[in-house]
Structures are given as structure tokens and as C-alpha cells.
């Protein structure tokens, strides 16, 4: 599959990103405040979503507006498999009997969610991946609208637009850290695999890639399924982080914030995806603290409510003005001595 030399040459990237995530987790533990802990959990969830998005968008160059649909599929898997059977019967009476009686731990539900989302990514993808460019993007958006519409109306199975409650809440930071690390490493492994390389080749030179024997729809489908699985896992964990799930949580708001994080960080690299989340989340959080007010001696300084959204937009425009390819551009984080080698671009494995 992959030549060891490529893995060795690029392993620094996921390791550095992993260390960064671990550093965030340690800060949360050191601070020891519940809301801050929840904030960092939220950041890890965004990392999972954006990395999942990157696996497809970054490698294929096709912007997807539909990936949050897979998070929605995953979120409801958590509801279907972890809520106590008695409560499930009340809110979702239409579930099949075997599912009604199922009660598995949260990590089990995250795995099932990944599988379920991957299955649907495979089904949708086999059709969608034949399209390119803007047609593909709009088709993914149509998929999001479709999933949202089904989940908002299928009363007996999803409780329609009502919140589904009773999902066990996991407030410990570690499961989310582990899941974020898993997604980073899976994304890295996919990126350096022959499939990832083939897809990037198809992104940059579709004609040449096709002429070299790359089956572009198939290469895209593989990325779509892997990214769908990561999104599904993230969706299930999102449900466990707040304990309720509704279809409108997984719609336009989350779609656009995750896409902006990816674009601002830099679509071209895995580091861009992760750093985009960390930097924008840190910025959002800082602005929220300022909105809430900061005590400076005798006086409290506070920004008017709503400034956070405006400032975030302004900062994003500034970043894109000066770095149109995102903060990281196409570069990945790596150890200094390797940097020179990296800038030449990946040479990729020969198969």
C-alpha cells in the first residue's frame, strides 16, 4: 500500500498535530473549569468534523456542502443505540424491536455511527462522485437537504424536529481527544496512501490522471466513504457531548462554520484543517469572554453582544486577503530539518 519511507517522512505531521491536541486537553485539565472543559470538547468535535471534511475536500478539490449530513446520520445512531429502551419507546416508537432493545456504550455507538455513515456515503457517493466541479458541490448540498428533510419529518423513528433526550452525556475530555487523534491519523494515512495520491493527482491534473489509468469516480468514492465515516463518528460524539439531538443542529450553521474553518486553515493540507479549527475556535472563545466582560481592576470591559460574529467575519476576510490559500496554504507542519524536503512537494510512492 504505502512505502515505509513516505510514512516515515511524513509521520511528523500527525504527531505534531496530535501533540497540539494533547496540549489543548492538558490545558483544559489544568484549568479545571467545567465550561472550559466543554469548550475544549467542542473544539475536538470540530477537529473531527473538519478533518473528516478535509479527507474528501482537501484531496479531491471538490467543495462538499453535504458532509454534515453524515454527522446527522451518526448523531441519530447515538440516539438509537444508547438511550434506555423505555425512553426510546416514548420518543421514537417506530424503531424496530431489536434496535429498541439495544443499549450499547458510547464508544460502541461512535463505531456503529461511523459504519452507518460510511454505508450511506457509499450509496450516495456511487452516484455523486461521477459529477465534478460545482455540479458535485450542489449535489452534495442536495444530499444534506434530503437527509435533513427526512430526519425532520420521520416522526416515529427520529421524533421529527423534537429534541431526542436521554443520550448519556460524556463530560470527560479523553474520549473526544482519542477520537480526534484517530481522525487525524486516519486522514494522514489516507493522504499518503496510493488512493490519496491518486485523488490529489486527479484534483490537480484530471486529464493526465485519467490518462495514467486513475479511475477518478472510484478514487473520490474511497475518500468520500472514509470522510463519511469520520463525520459519522463525530456526529455520534456530538450527541454524547450535549445529551440531545435534533436535525437542525446538523444543518447549515455547522456546515458553514466547518467549511470556513477548513478554508481559513488551508484546504490543501491536513495541518491547515486542524489549525483552522484551533485558531478560529480560540478566536471565537476569546471574543466570547470579551463579550461576557473582563475584570480589569475596578472596571469591567465588555464588548456589546453579537460583536463576536462580526469580528470573526472580519478576521476571516483579513486572513483570506493575505493568505488566499488559507493560513497553512499547501504546507504541512513538520520538523524543521525536514522542511526543506517537504517544500519540494510530495514525491509519492511508486506502485
Amino acid at each position: 500500500m504505502m512505502s515505509p519511507s513516505v510514512a516515515r517522512r511524513t509521520i511528523a505531521t500527525p504527531v505534531l498535530l496530535g501533540l497540539l491536541l494533547i496540549a489543548f486537553a492538558l490545558v483544559a485539565v489544568a484549568v479545571g473549569s467545567k465550561p472550559f472543559n466543554q469548550t475544549v470538547i467542542d473544539i475536538f468535535l470540530k477537529v473531527i468534523f473538519v478533518v473528516g471534511l478535509w479527507v474528501f475536500v482537501g484531496n479531491s478539490g471538490v467543495i462538499s456542502f453535504g458532509h454534515i449530513a453524515f454527522a446527522c446520520l451518526g448523531g441519530y445512531v447515538a440516539a438509537w443505540t444508547t438511550i434506555k429502551p423505555m425512553m426510546k419507546g416514548m420518543s421514537m416508537p417506530g424503531l424496530p424491536d431489536w434496535l429498541m432493545q439495544t443499549e450499547i456504550p458510547y464508544w460502541g455507538s461512535a463505531m456503529v455511527a461511523a459504519g452507518w455513515a460510511a454505508l450511506w456515503a457509499l450509496i450516495f457517493g456511487s452516484v455523486l462522485m461521477r459529477l465534478s466541479g460545482i455540479a458535485a458541490s450542489i449535489a452534495t448540498f442536495a444530499m444534506l437537504a434530503m437527509v435533513n428533510s427526512i430526519y425532520s419529518n420521520w416522526e416515529s423513528v427520529t421524533a421529527a424536529t423534537s429534541s431526542v433526550v436521554g443520550i448519556p452525556i460524556i463530560r470527560s475530555i479523553w474520549p473526544y481527544l482519542v477520537a480526534a487523534l484517530i481522525s487525524v491519523f486516519v486522514a494522514w494515512a489516507y493522504g499518503i496512501s496510493r488512493h490519496g495520491l491518486a485523488l490529489r493527482a486527479a484534483r490537480d491534473e484530471p486529464t493526465a490522471a485519467a490518462a495514467s489509468g486513475i479511475d477518478i469516480p472510484r478514487a473520490r468514492l474511497i475518500a468520500f466513504v472514509i470522510s463519511g465515516a469520520i463525520m459519522g463518528m463525530g456526529g455520534a460524539l456530538y450527541s454524547h457531548s450535549i445529551g440531545i439531538v435534533t436535525p437542525d443542529t446538523f444543518y447549515l450553521g455547522l456546515t458553514f462554520i466547518t467549511l470556513s474553518m477548513l478554508v481559513v486553515g488551508g484546504m490543501g493540507s491536513l495541518s491547515g484543517a486542524v489549525l483552522g479549527v484551533l485558531i478560529l475556535s480560540t478566536l471565537i472563545q476569546t471574543l466570547r469572554w470579551l463579550e461576557a466582560g473582563v475584570q480589569l481592576g475596578e472596571i469591567t470591559l465588555a464588548l456589546p453582544g453579537g460583536v463576536q460574529e462580526i469580528a470573526l467575519g472580519a478576521v476571516m476576510i483579513l486572513i483570506l486577503m493575505f493568505r488566499p490559500a488559507g493560513i497553512m496554504g499547501n504546507k504541512d507542519l513538520s520538523l524543521p530539518q525536514r522542511a526543506a524536503l517537504e517544500t519540494r512537494g510530495p514525491t509519492g510512492p511508486r506502485t
Binding site: 484549568v31 465550561p35 489549525l275
Partner: protein, 392 residues
């Protein structure tokens, strides 16, 4: 990497969390200060603050001044969970959460898992309480189903309505709740008959098809039970009247307020159940006095009856704390559950170990006559709506 360091440095600039302290009594508001829920949360929260100020002025609770901490949910569920945890960390003894069940439940669940009591500001779903959060969660308002049941029974007994038409806007749980209460009450009313029913969606620009079916009835129904809310309600009402249908229109509390009446000039034969009157004609003069205090504190009159539950909430909670002699959760919840027809400014309130919501309540009936709303009557349903019925 420099950017990274800045980012990391920024995250560590946190103030240490305030420690919970038994010497203080703290009410934590995890409500929306921004976003669309703010329009619902802010008025009720202002009313709650008025009650807190009154209690503090009268010497406080258990001899201590009530302190308040706030956290903004941004009308977002994930932020709601954080807001809940923030006020809990700041030492809240009771957590007040957003008006709506969907937006309030993440913070309420956070309070529940921290073993603290929580109150929804004005949620009207049975889920806002034991059934959807846990044994320490309450709602300060009255169930939507009670509004539908109240209107049906009152129209039958006081207005002689016998033929009813049910028009449901399927947009929200609240709307469905009103019609569920109506459905439960109707079969118990002698000679009352449902002559037809229909549904529409709040965003529908035209309900011409539904109106045609009402017009096609051999006789105009005595009353139309209209289960809807703003903003779609205005257009529906306007179209019903423009079509020349003059039946009584019965509503839930969601359409209370005079702010929209100019859109339907000279509206008549229009009835709304309210917990208290914002029109200055409440039978209880203390309510009118409260309205004046509210205006003094916020600079404006209450715009709808949804201001009042915030006041009731602090009132009943403070009484329970006073009786329990502590803010300890189990004791306070036990005292709340002992309340049976506990008098408040806006009617008696009852909580039991089965339901932390009102499945029966006194409602004032506001009639709009030639575009002028005013209280004409009051009504309490003859029997509380059974919990099993509400859970359907």
C-alpha cells in the same frame, strides 16, 4: 508556530472558576442574551429579576441576599450546555434555562447531572420537567394542552359553542400541544361536535384551501380552535376573517399581545387564554402594579403574558427554599412538590412528584372586540389533564 503560541497563550488566560460557597444564594441564568430566543427569554428574565429585587429588599432569602450569575446560550444548543456548566461553576444553587424546551434542555441536563434544580423560564411542553430532563427540573409556565382544553370548555360552557372546527399549524410542538388539550377536552363536553379538522404550516402564505373547506360546511362552525403561533398566526387569522368566516376563534397564549392587531383591523370574536393581563385590566390589582414596576425596570410595558412565568418561578422557588430552610436540592424539590394550589400573583400553582408543570391552571380569557383586547372572564378546567394523556 508563533501564531500557535499566541493561540495557546490566549486559551490559558482564564479566570479561575468561582468556588461554590454555602454562604451565598446564587441563581444562575443560562439563557439567551443574543439570538432569536433572546426575545422570549429577556422579558421573563426581567420579571424574575424584579421578584429577586423584591425578596432582597425585604431582607433576602434565609437572611442572605440572592445573587445572580448569567451566561449566554447564544440560542445554540452546544453553547447552552456550556452556559449551564458556567453558571454551575459560578456557584448557582438553581439554574434558570431558556424558555423553549429544545434550547433550554442542554443547560437543564447539565444542572440535572450536577444535582441542581433547574427551571425552564416559560416552556410549555411536558418534556420540560421530569419527563424530558429529570427529577429536579421544573417549568414556570403552564402546559400548552391546558390552553386548548381551557378554551374548549370555556367556549362550550360560557358561549354555548357546540360545533367546533380544529385548525392545526404543525410547525411546533407547542401548537400540537394546544390541539392535544382540545382533543382531550372535546369528547367530555355534552353535545359538542367536531365538524371538521385541517392542518397548515406556519410559513404557508395562503391557507385558501383550508378556508374553502370551512366554507363548504353546511353551517358555519360555532368556534374554530386555531392551534398556531407567531408569525404565521396573523396571516391565518386575517385570511379567515377576510373570507367572511365570523365564528369565534379560540387560541393558545402564543398570540397574546396587541402588537400585531393593527394587521387585522377591527378583529372581533377572538379569544386568548392568559396567565395575567398586560392590558391594565387584570382582576388582581397587584398584577397591574407589577406591570408598572416592570415598566419602571425595563422602560416598556410587558408585550405579552410570557413575562409573568419568570416572576412566578422565583416566587415559588424562594418559598420552597424558605420552607426547606436550605438551598439543598432534595429538600427544595420536596418542598416544591408539596405545593398544592400555592397562590401566586398569576394564579395557583401545583407541583407533584409526577409532574413539575401545570396540567391545570386558572386562565384569564381575553376577548378582542373591534380590535381592542380586554379581560372578559376567567376559567379553570374542571379536571386536570392526566399525565398519561400528555405523554401520548
Amino acid at each position: 508556530m508563533k501564531r500557535l503560541m499566541t493561540a495557546l497563550a490566549a486559551t490559558t488566560c482564564l479566570t479561575a472558576p468561582a468556588l461554590a460557597d454555602d454562604e451565598r444564594i446564587v441563581v444562575g441564568f443560562a439563557t439567551a442574551e443574543t439570538g432569536f430566543m433572546q426575545a422570549y427569554d429577556k422579558p421573563a428574565q426581567d420579571a424574575a429579576m424584579i421578584r429577586i429585587a423584591e425578596i432582597n429588599a425585604a431582607g433576602g432569602l434565609l437572611g442572605k441576599q440572592i445573587e445572580v450569575v448569567n451566561a449566554d446560550t447564544k440560542t445554540d444548543r452546544a453553547e447552552g450546555a456550556k452556559a449551564g456548566l458556567t453558571v454551575i461553576d459560578a456557584g448557582a444553587d438553581m439554574v434558570v434555562v431558556s424558555c423553549d424546551y429544545d434550547f433550554g434542555s442542554p443547560a437543564a441536563l447539565a444542572a440535572e447531572s450536577a444535582g441542581l434544580p433547574s427551571f425552564f423560564l416559560c416552556a410549555e411542553s411536558i418534556k420540560a420537567g421530569i419527563q424530558g430532563v429529570g427529577p429536579n427540573s421544573f417549568s414556570a409556565s403552564v402546559l400548552a394542552a391546558v390552553q386548548g382544553a381551557t378554551m374548549a370548555e370555556w367556549a362550550h360552557n360560557k358561549k354555548g359553542a357546540r360545533t367546533f372546527y380544529r385548525l392545526l399549524d404543525t410547525w411546533t410542538e407547542y401548537n400540537k400541544g394546544i390541539c392535544d388539550g382540545f382533543d382531550w377536552m372535546l369528547p367530555q363536553l355534552a353535545d359538542a361536535k367536531l365538524v371538521g379538522e385541517d392542518t397548515f404550516l406556519n410559513e404557508d402564505a395562503s391557507i385558501a384551501a383550508q378556508i374553502t373547506r370551512i366554507k363548504a360546511l353546511p353551517e358555519e362552525p360555532d368556534a374554530i380552535m386555531l392551534c398556531t403561533m407567531m408569525p404565521g398566526a396573523v396571516s391565518a387569522i386575517k385570511q379567515i376573517r377576510a373570507a367572511g368566516i365570523n365564528s369565534m376563534i379560540l387560541n393558545g397564549s402564543g398570540v397574546d399581545g396587541s402588537y400585531w392587531l393593527s394587521a387585522v383591523p377591527d378583529l372581533s370574536n377572538f379569544f386568548v387564554p392568559v396567565q395575567g393581563s398586560i392590558y391594565g385590566d387584570d382582576p388582581n390589582p397587584d398584577v397591574t402594579a407589577f406591570n408598572a414596576r416592570y415598566k419602571e425596570a425595563t422602560g416598556g410595558d410587558p408585550s405579552t403574558q410570557y413575562v409573568y412565568p419568570g416572576y412566578v418561578m422565583i416566587d415559588v422557588w424562594a418559598k420552597a427554599v424558605e420552607r426547606a430552610g436550605t438551598t439543598e436540592t432534595a429538600a427544595v424539590v420536596a418542598e416544591l412538590e408539596k405545593m398544592n394550589a400555592e397562590p401566586t400573583l398569576f394564579g395557583p400553582r401545583t407541583f407533584t412528584s409526577e409532574i413539575h408543570h401545570q396540567n391545570r391552571a386558572r386562565y384569564l380569557i381575553v376577548e378582542t372586540k373591534a380590535g381592542k383586547p380586554g379581560v372578559v372572564d376567567e376559567w379553570t378546567i374542571s379536571e386536570a389533564i392526566p399525565v398519561a394523556e400528555l405523554m401520548k
